[in-house]
Symmetry: C2
Subunit: 416 residues, 2 copies
């Protein structure tokens, strides 16, 4: 008998019919003799509808009150699922984030989990109940107020609960049946992976793979929680993400997959005086605007001696604030211009095999060149190579890289 | 500077536009220098929509989970109102029932308030904030689960908070601008009352007047909380309900008004053996089915010696369960038949003036007789006379009683 945490996202519970189907799956898992903790997101577009109500009463809703409002969505889904499970004859008990002991920082709207004290979850499990915990929410223990965890919050709730309860596995039940070597809607040859290491999953998530939020993978890695990404319908073996380095490639290591991100923006600052500290001043302004710089390049000073251009990638949503902040320091730093380009995509190849493959960067560039994709910025990390190209060239770039790195055919001995 | 508790019902916040209007009223009260605590119901038909979702997943939802689900409605309204108040530049803080310290019994769906520990409400008031408390809900301190208070729950929340905070007044802001001598939709001559005693309001509420729930009036009376019933729009003086016996009538006392109730059902048990204990057995079966018997009459045994008929009024919603319970004891008690009649209405005249008016019952019967209304059951209490008639005769009955008891013209010196 195992203790299993199952998380279902909003699209898996977007109607009462689907809530009933999730209930059936949960009860089936319980019937196999396992203890089950379920983490649910809000039903379908509930959160968006609540946000819309908030906008109708206030241009700038207070984050505390917004969290009070939004957290009702997960509670509703949770209580309904508990009723559906009870209707199938099983015992169930729904708990809010605070009731489940999910303790967070005080950063409303983007709180981080600091501790999980799952006393009530344990008690309910000991009574034989299936326990449902509202995802995406927790308690700020200092003020006793409810908080939300921001993007990827429900995945993180599930993984944090699995860690605190020493669960055997945390199942992330979603629209897709696992982690793929590429987005199958773009690369038809993409294959489902049987297994990934935390490290590879982290790089995939950081490079734009949507199946698991980066922060939840980091949490799982830190606490050693084995994650199984699988279909909400319960069919198929899914993809296991764990610490195990055994990806069947021995020292050579494997190439995991290609990932892409179209949500980024490219910002270029031209005519930056080539003086010590000026580029640092530019980056500080961006950081103070709350933006994380991804990849940055600085041109070699050109014929116009004394000035240089700086280009970097930002999350698209944060770019306007960063550009505004940069305009504010233009006089002070003396640069010529700042521009934002949203028509960019980032493509990445990820895998521990990068370490042992000195020619990887060359393979990467050759593949894109042959596909006629122009690289605008390129960066390499330990197990990842990324490049920025035009959005229109994204599909060709992904297909070319998927082929060039041998992802079209099952890697020998990888079991994937 | 006073401390004012204001309660707004669901129809006063059925759209975000109306939430903003409530926010304006609350901020205006605060601007007059008062401390303000606001209790809100769920927006419009939110509770019905949540109940409908519950029915879609379960034929018999567990009361605990139903309360978890339903209490999200008041939280939403509350958080939205807090945002709307903040958008007007005032400080606001929304609290759930448990956060506000509303402690209840464990009877999910119909919990009763046992204590209010308003520490967090006080703290927020001391910070200068307008405090919003979700109505209709509380915490079962034994299990730390959320409960709902059932019908009239938000009025009771407001009055309980006013009592615990020693507020100067509890304003019940509603669709109508006060308590009337009769329902103005039926009796055009009905007048708004300036003042009522708790006792008269209790009898009016018990007789079907909808403006305040009986349990909330009982709570106010027990704790001595002065209640002001007024329009949500804030216009008009409203009706004050308090302990004061000064209704301007000296020892004579006043007639408060007429009330009616069409939600009742008449149950008749015929051929009941006229033996000691048999009627008691009938009433016990009804009570065990969870039904409160209102008015009961037992016929004098007729020519068929040894048997009698028993007729009583029940709340309409409980009648089917009571009738089923009675059918279950038919063999045991030996009665002939049990029948249910929903086509009945109860009309009542309420007022402390009843005490000093020996001819009141005669006036009552004469008025109905002249209007051609047949009385099926009649009962009198200390400050009330009630009769049951056909539903179709209700309007005529109310108008006749309103006229006969002099309610058409302002009572001399009553100020009403």
């Amino acid at each position: 008998m195992a203790l299993i945490v199952q998380k279902y996202g909003g699209s898996s519970v977007r109607s009462t019919e689907l809530v009933k189907r999730v209930a059936e799956r949960v009860v089936a898992t319980r019937a196999e003799g396992h203890d089950v903790v379920v983490v649910l997101s809000a039903m379908g577009d509930t959160t968006d509808r609540l946000l819309d109500l908030a906008r109708q009463v206030s241009d700038l809703p207070s984050p505390r009150e917004l969290d009070m409002l939004l957290t009702t969505g997960e509670r509703m889904a949770n209580a309904l699922a508990a009723m559906a499970i009870q209707a199938l004859g099983a015992e169930a008990c729904s708990l809010s984030g605070p009731q489940a002991g999910v303790l967070t920082t005080s950063a409303y709207g983007k709180a981080r989990i600091v501790d999980v004290a799952p006393r009530r979850v344990r008690q309910a499990l000991d009574r034989g109940a299936i326990v449902l915990v509202a995802g995406f929410q927790g308690l700020n223990p200092e003020t006793e107020d409810i908080t939300t965890l921001g993007r990827g919050g429900s995945d993180t709730t599930a993984i944090a609960l699995a860690a605190a309860l020493k669960a055997d596995i945390c199942e992330i039940c979603t629209d897709v049946d696992g982690v793929y070597t590429a987005d199958p809607r773009i690369v038809p040859e993409a294959r489902r992976l049987d297994h990934l290491t935390f490290e590879a999953m982290q790089e995939m998530a950081a490079s734009g793979a949507k199946v698991l939020a980066l922060r939840s993978v980091e949490y799982a890695r830190r606490c050693g929680v084995t994650v199984l990404v699988r279909s909400s319908s319960g069919t198929g073996p899914g993809t296991t993400v764990s610490a195990s380095a055994d990806d069947g490639h021995g020292e050579g290591g494997a190439i995991t997959g290609v990932a892409h991100d179209v949500s980024c923006a490219k910002v270029t600052v031209t005519g930056v005086p080539d003086l010590p500290g000026t580029v640092a001043r530019v980056f500080r302004a961006v950081a103070d605007a709350g933006c994380e710089i991804d990849t940055a390049v600085q041109n070699v000073p050109g014929p116009e001696a004394g000035v240089t251009d700086v280009t970097f990638l930002l999350p698209g949503e944060g770019a306007p604030a960063a550009v505004a902040a940069l305009r504010g320091i233009r006089a002070e730093t003396g640069f010529t211009e700042v521009s934002q380009d949203d028509d960019v995509a980032k493509v990445s190849v990820v895998g521990s095999g990068m370490r042992a493959r000195p020619g990887a960067a060359a393979t990467f560039c050759e593949a894109l060149a042959e596909a006629g994709v122009n690289i605008e910025i390129m960066s390499t990390a330990e197990i990842r190579i990324s490049a920025v190209c035009r959005t229109a060239r994204l599909h060709d770039a992904l297909r070319a890289l998927h082929r060039a790195f041998g992802l079209d055919k099952p890697a020998v001995g990888s079991g994937a």
